[in-house]
């Protein structure tokens, strides 16, 4: 029988999971891993396993215990994408460790963990594997070199005879365990250059690994920020400004303060006016929140969907999108004018919410000139700066405690809840947990930005001659325009324009941010839909047209792979569509992930429903097939939940939706069949976290057009009846 008493995690500062200790005292820990690593210069908190750290920077990545247990410090946030397991496999492969002896530990905030592309510590854009593939193998290789040198020294032999594998260094029949060698290894000079194992000798990479976080997650022992408890911690329930520009009217806090357990009613701005009912328990805080009447003055009460759409469509001053490879708009306009055939269409998409399974929750404790924080944070460097400012402490005094995150999908890039927890803790001089309700989550999200796209293509019998996009979207960074250069796969004559960055927030009624797939969701929708409309006009098979027009060799190969599924005889009552995309999460990455999807829909109770999705993915070398498949399937089902039938509406300046009843995600009986085929490749691995989401929309739109004769030109494709 599992012990059902609360667990304790030992870190530099003791903190509890699950609240008051039953039966008095703190219980000793028996854990697979801790969720907070000590800083590299600090001694290991488990004295029985204390070892001198590995030399130099290696200590920031790997620890080896006396019993041979290997800890890999993972510089990314684990939100379900499986990064902790593959990060461990990358190190273990080169090190010669067995996965059974490796445990992941989430990294604290430190410059050494800055991402190579974003130059900050962050987990975004499906870039983790791409940026860690070589560096983590080099870490493993360096550690192996130290262990083999230590063994060679111990045996007084040439190091060339020593081989690290399965957690031991071998010389013929004899071997020494990593644990026996680690202390000596710590004083071996770290070699400058280390050879990496040839791919053909890999035993872990390229094979599916059991995920290292699975058992704890199944047993309910994984610590998310909503599970963190500190002695004396208060819990807050919020009433947040219902719309941009709202101000608080006269508030009477007495009804909340009268509820037993409520300690305070705080009014603050972080970053918008918010009322917090702060109590000794969640239930007291909730009762206190319910008791309050909070009057708002809402100057934006005239903002509704029509007003927002009109504002978007009204952006007339457009400037070139700053993406490499795009041509000057005038040049593309000229090419369009010369093309014998042209087609111009408008496509639109709405605002979409993240709805992670774990509603936003953060814990903060400002004390003794420092601030400790736990929360759903994807961009650690950014969050540390944000927390420092809100807490009034220097960045170096922010103690970021990494936690596992219950789904994020981009929401963790702008964790307002973290800022709110810090602000309250500072005010109240106590640890504070801020819990957003599901309603808070749906109404105060940073939504995927709505978009209005005017796309035009010119072609002749040889191929696509020119492609332009006018992107009207509130978000003017890559979150809005990612993928707008996608037509470069078909023709070099591509341009795109968008509204200028005006620096003012006047137009920003709606808070927007990155959502899995980002701009590719709407730019890909517009581009691939237009290509399908062109194919229909030409009377040509849309897959065949793409193959003929595709300039990207790997893209063409992927389309050919999809032909088998595409050419299968279609059952009665089924429509199908196909789309291609290549995605990169950072503009200066040299790598694309390429995807083709064949989507099938059928009618269910008179409405089109997805029936089958067949993905073909070229992401370079697949390091963990089962996990990569899970990522693509996950992305596809996430996309269906997010924008097939759902969107966020605005009435009277406020968000209309409030939960799973009016933004209904896919349920288990609604999930279509999803198949994923990966190309066999040794090319540099690229990310697959978003690929399932990016190109679903146009393939489904074309499938619906095939089925019904009517083509949806707006996301969501099959809106709920209202």
């Amino acid at each position: 029988m599992s012990d059902d008493a609360p667990r304790v995690r030992l870190t530099r500062r003791r903190w509890l999971v699950g609240g008051a200790a039953v039966g008095g005292g703190l219980l000793a820990l028996r854990f697979a891993w801790s969720t907070s690593a000590p800083a590299p210069t600090e001694p290991d908190p488990e004295p029985t396993e204390a070892m001198p750290p590995l030399p130099g920077e290696l200590a920031a990545w790997v620890r080896i215990a006396r019993d041979g247990a290997v800890t890999v410090i993972v510089p990314k946030v684990e939100m379900g994408q499986g990064i902790v397991t593959t990060a461990c496999a990358l190190v273990a492969e080169e090190m010669g460790a067995a996965m059974s002896q490796v445990t992941p530990e989430l990294a604290p905030a430190a410059e050494v963990y800055a991402d190579a592309l974003f130059e900050r510590q962050s987990t975004v854009g499906s870039t983790s594997i791409e940026t860690l593939y070589t560096p983590l193998r080099e870490v493993g290789a360096r550690v192996r070199a130290l262990l083999e040198a230590a063994a060679a020294e111990r045996w007084s032999i040439d190091v060339a005879r020593c081989e690290a594998r399965d957690g031991h260094v071998h010389d013929g029949e004899r071997s020494l365990g990593f644990g026996e060698l680690a202390e000596a290894a710590a004083s071996v000079p770290v070699p400058e250059r280390v050879p990496l194992r040839p791919l053909g000798e890999h035993r872990l990479l390229g094979r599916s690994q059991p995920r290292l976080d699975t058992r704890e997650k199944v047993l309910g022992r994984t610590v998310y920020s909503s599970d963190v408890t500190l002695p004396g911690m208060l819990v807050a329930q919020l009433v947040q400004a219902p719309s941009v520009g709202s101000t608080l009217g006269a508030l009477d806090p007495a009804p909340a303060l009268a509820v037993p357990g409520v300690r305070a009613v705080e009014v603050f701005e972080a970053p918008y006016p918010t009322v917090a009912v702060v109590a000794e328990s969640f239930w007291a805080a909730k009762r206190g929140r319910r008791a309050l009447e909070v009057p708002w003055d809402e100057p934006m009460a005239d903002v509704d969907d029509a007003a927002l759409a009109a504002e978007l469509e009204g952006f007339d001053e457009l400037v070139p999108v700053p993406l490499e490879g795009l041509a000057a708009p005038e040049a593309t306009t000229a090419s369009l004018a010369e093309a014998p055939q042209r087609l111009r269409r408008v496509y639109q998409s709405g605002y979409f919410a993240h709805l992670p399974m774990e509603p936003p929750c953060a814990v903060a404790w400002v004390h003794d000139g420092c601030c400790e924080v736990w929360g759903p944070i994807q961009r650690v460097t950014f969050a540390v700066r944000l927390v420092a400012r809100e807490a009034g402490v220097p960045k170096e005094a922010v103690d970021y405690h990494p936690v596992y995150v219950g789904g994020s999908f981009g929401q963790g890039q702008k964790p307002t809840v973290v800022r709110q927890a810090v602000a309250l803790s500072r005010r109240l001089d106590a640890p504070v947990k801020v819990r957003w309700t599901r309603e808070d989550d749906v109404r105060h999200d940073h939504y995927h930005p709505a978009a209005h796209l005017t796309v035009e293509a010119g072609w002749d019998d040889e191929g696509l001659r020119a492609f332009t996009t006018e992107l009207r979207c509130l978000h003017v960074t890559a979150v809005g325009y990612n993928g707008v250069d996608g037509a470069l796969a078909y023709t070099p004559q591509v341009s795109a324009t968008q509204r200028p960055r005006d620096g003012s927030r006047r137009a920003r009624f709606v808070p927007t941010g990155a959502l899995r797939g980002v701009g590719s969701i709407h730019t890909g929708f517009a581009r691939e839909s237009l290509l399908d409309e062109i194919a229909a006009e030409r009377g040509v098979d849309p897959l065949a047209q793409r193959v003929a027009w595709m300039r990207d060799a790997r893209g063409r190969a992927l389309l050919e792979r999809a032909r088998g599924v595409w050419d299968e005889p279609k059952p009665e009552g089924v429509g199908h569509g196909v789309a291609f995309h290549r995605y990169k999460g950072h503009v200066s990455s040299p790598h694309w992930t390429r995807v083709v999807v064949v989507a099938e829909v059928h009618a269910n109770e008179g409405r089109p429903r997805p029936r089958r999705l067949a993905f073909f993915v070229d992401c370079g070398r697949v390091l963990d097939p089962r996990n990569a498949e899970a990522q693509v399937v996950g992305g596809a089902l996430y996309g269906l939940s997010t924008f097939f039938a759902n969107e966020i509406h605005f009435d009277g300046g406020r968000v209309r939706e409030s939960g799973f009843h009016d933004y209904p995600p896919l349920r288990i009986d609604e999930a279509p069949r999803v198949e994923v085929t990966f190309v066999d490749s040794d090319e540099h691995p690229t990310g697959v976290g978003e690929i399932g989401t990016t190109i679903l929309a146009p393939a489904l739109a074309s499938a619906i057009a095939d089925l019904t004769g009517g083509r949806p030109r707006r996301l969501p494709l099959a809106p709920q009846a209202r």
């Binding site: 059902d4 379900g80 059991p210 976080d213 309910g220 239930w283 709805l355 599901r438 996950g634 288990i668």
Partner: protein, 151 residues
């Protein structure tokens, strides 16, 4: 009031209108049962009440005298459903999974050989945002291949 949880009796002095979810998580420190919506729409708070899958966010503590409550912490680690979940590597972010496991164990206790329609019906109250549904179905089928006893 007294609550029977995972085979032990707990004396609690809390508001009888408090949902069981918060008694579990805060009063007793059993954090495996999760808050996902508080409205019974997502299943993240699924527990067993006398062997039936119920949503702890909708059960008021004051109504639970005399029943046997089981949480994820109360299942044997070697329970066939847990082993099936691990073997199939079901979780991604993992937040919904304790609730999924609780619903699945209740299903298999009542119906040791469910077909896909049975599985969908029993499990559709448990949301997953990461898309683990296909592996959930596989794990339940896998667990159903063995004799299921109470955990």
């Amino acid at each position: 009031m007294r609550l029977r949880i995972n085979g032990r009796t707990h004396e609690l002095d809390v508001d009888p209108d408090m949902p069981l979810l918060w008694a579990l998580r805060e009063t007793l420190g059993l954090t495996g049962t999760k808050y996902g919506c508080g409205l019974g729409q997502c299943g993240a708070c699924t527990v067993h009440v006398d062997g039936q899958a119920r949503r702890a966010c909708l059960l008021l503590v004051g109504s639970l005298e005399g029943v046997e409550i089981t949480t994820i912490e109360g299942l044997e680690e070697t329970h066939p459903v847990i082993e099936a979940w691990v073997a199939e590597d079901v979780p991604q972010c993992g937040f919904c999974q304790p609730g999924q496991v609780m619903s699945a164990t209740a299903l298999l206790r009542a119906n040791p050989r469910p077909n896909d329609a049975d599985i969908h019906r029993a499990m559709r109250g448990n949301l997953c945002r990461c898309g683990t549904y296909p592996r959930i179905v596989r794990a339940i089928r896998r667990a159903a291949g063995q004799t299921i006893e109470d955990g």
